[in-house]
Subunit: 513 residues, 2 copies
Amino acid sequence: MIEMAKKTKLDKVMEVSIRRGFVFPTAEIYGGFAGVYDFGPIGSLLKEKLLKLWTDMFVKSEIDPPVFMVDGAVVLPFPVLKASGHVDHFVDPVVECKDCKEEVRADHLIEEETGQFVEGLDEMELTKIIRDNSINCPSCGGELADVKVFNLMLGTHVGSKRSIAYMRPETAQIMFLDFKRTATSMRQKLPFGIAQIGKSMRNEVSPRKGLIRLREFGQMEIEMFVNPDRINEHPGFEEKENIKLRLLTREEQKKEDTKILEIIAKEAYEKEILPNKFMAYYLALETLFYTKVGIPWEKFRFRHMLPEETPHYSGGNWDLEIELEGGVIEIVGNAYRRDYDLGNHGKHSGVDLSIEDNGKRLIAHVVEPSFGVERSIYCVLEHCFRDKGYDRDWVWFQFPRAIAPIDVEVYPLMKKDGLDTYAWEMYKELKISGFNVLYDDRGSIGRRYARADEIGCPFCITCDYETLREDTVTIRDRDTMNQIRVKAKEVIDILGKLFKEEIKFEEAGELIS
Amino acid sequence: MIEMAKKTKLDKVMEVSIRRGFVFPTAEIYGGFAGVYDFGPIGSLLKEKLLKLWTDMFVKSEIDPPVFMVDGAVVLPFPVLKASGHVDHFVDPVVECKDCKEEVRADHLIEEETGQFVEGLDEMELTKIIRDNSINCPSCGGELADVKVFNLMLGTHVGSKRSIAYMRPETAQIMFLDFKRTATSMRQKLPFGIAQIGKSMRNEVSPRKGLIRLREFGQMEIEMFVNPDRINEHPGFEEKENIKLRLLTREEQKKEDTKILEIIAKEAYEKEILPNKFMAYYLALETLFYTKVGIPWEKFRFRHMLPEETPHYSGGNWDLEIELEGGVIEIVGNAYRRDYDLGNHGKHSGVDLSIEDNGKRLIAHVVEPSFGVERSIYCVLEHCFRDKGYDRDWVWFQFPRAIAPIDVEVYPLMKKDGLDTYAWEMYKELKISGFNVLYDDRGSIGRRYARADEIGCPFCITCDYETLREDTVTIRDRDTMNQIRVKAKEVIDILGKLFKEEIKFEEAGELIS
């Protein structure tokens, strides 16, 4: 008997995401472009809401220390990325098959074949392991060539003199370059943060299917600049100290049966499990953020990176990892980078990047939370995805209301008798009031509800014959499929309260089914 | 007597913009990167507000036809830009000096030296003009080499196979690539628009000082897809038809003493001065937008591009041009591109990009307004700039309230006696309410007002000893420097009304000076 290949959750999520306008493969009409996606009309709205929530939580509502947003260049000149270490060290080991010419990541291949963890080894050492273990091409079984390293940056030439430049591989360098100007122009003392949301590019050897490993991707990064002597003074920590974190310590990672440590931020800091108060603060805030966007608390944890995964200068790295059907993936890197970045740029540029604090000149230390935009969005999609048969005959997304791309859809029961005019006026009114609204007058109401569910729209409004008589409409709730009848003139007010979670759906009107 | 070089307005605007955190030269600590700027903390907020206003006006509040936002890749594969014509035709003519090796734009040089308009001529023709007119190097007077063409795209290589790709030179290609997916996923018929805000890169031969000609820049573009038989049916036109446009026709451009035609959109359309109703609609909407962001109506006009400036496929191009001290610059290009883009991509990709409308399959026509982000922001900065001596002893920006980067600043009169605690609590409250707020307790109140003026902050709140006794604070208005005293608990409400222009400042409280 032949077993049919089972569709993974990733397959299903990507299928509906492409069909319904969340993401489109870039240049699809030309056969696509590996590792690159566009956000379509629905995905752009989801991304907009997720980024707005992030900005509100990590930038705009941060009072002390303040966080400033900057918005810098994607193309950076050679000296910047030489100083940052990316020109010399931002490389992946690649090995080519002598027969079929396919190229694969040498480190991934060795890890899969031997279970050996080889991060940090050079091309000679990796080649030796391949030879010693007689590892062959995973595609055709052919003999493999020697391992080569491959820089992950996309290079280019700028100006008629063709100076070397690179697409930035991370947004962070802008914040280091702009550190001094930001401190001076804002008359700001330590500690303070600089944040940025923007694109980065990495020439991944084998980009993965879906939104997990892309060549062009969004990042939300913060560099928090701190006096190292005062890295355990954070005026805002108390407000977040009781948030419970899920931690995976180094000790537990060595065990066969690893256990997650559930512990409040305050305790994790006091017991010195986390390197400093700023790190503890960000782990707490990230816990809040990801639960708000629809990732169940028990589905993510912070993993203490192992010594071999951690750069020599680091004072401790903790990655936020989210469980997916296909395995656990890193979503946020939290790194205590000490004075590595400002120290390096000061040395290479010859510009004094020290700052005065508490009567002493010093190089600020950096605590950096670095978020992946598409990865975060993919995790939201997968965790909010409800498969056909879960509770209805179609797939749907149970997005938290705050990040649902479309807030509400409006339907006339029939395209006649003035129902369409009524519904169209309501659609306009909602749009002018600032809601993300769609109007749909095609097919049965049931089909329209199903289509709204597919893009995770929380509420659908139907104008029926009672509407014309009584000036009332029905609102249907995505999650329960319950319907209430409300006065038309109260719709905007009720929706406002529902989105602010000030009232329960069933109490917002007369329950009709 | 030696005459001191007079500072231009551009010099002055850039000086305060860099000093106060609007923009920073990218990689300044490494000597900068010609033609590239970062937005600093204040500039990011200005950009955010300008983009939000644009999105509200051109995308979110557009009801019929609707406009959908997408957010696509910056790096595009070779076939896309081959099909679009950029690989072959997106070139600038450059000429190098045989002596000093400096390179300049050949067309600009000829125009400056001879007054001759040479757009569209090839390298042979340009070289001939240079020889015939004995034009030499503008820097050293040396002999010039032959003119060469220089592609303006930044190229790169993607994947281990090093496939050629380019940084997109405009955001528009994404909308053409995603046209079919957008129509299908949104179940949308013609007409509809696809909009995008994002970065583009062009390898300008000689980027200019300031934000006018950059190598990396933001664009806000809309591709409005229309059935050519119905290009004069626009359901939203009536609402905008009475907006008065300033037009510079081709006829007037030939005259010595050119006159601007002041005419309402409806009439410009009916008299067939503009090529269609969609073009007339966008010119009206752009007029609204630029007056809202602080460009006086009489300082900009739409110029009908001359035949030699217009691509062969175009059905008419009208550029929005704004007057600056240094001359007039193009801010928005409005182009009726007919079926050029979808036709080309259909042909090159082999994918059918036709769509059904009114019972007929057709290639949609495109009307494209294309806005420059940094240019728009520079024009706002220059037009809102008030020089030292204009009415006070410091420079300031008279931004419209809607786009002022910082809404309000909060000061304690003294850093003692509880004034600081009071002011700090008010600062927090305003921040939590969503205002962009700064707290400042350094220097005299007069100096703090001056600093707030420099970043165009509309209102400053001071907590003084009367505050402690009466729970009242003063609010100072940037434009008039008037002050009112209001109840502390009414501040948020009053500011809300002032920003919505619902009340006049002098009527919002007790006028005290």
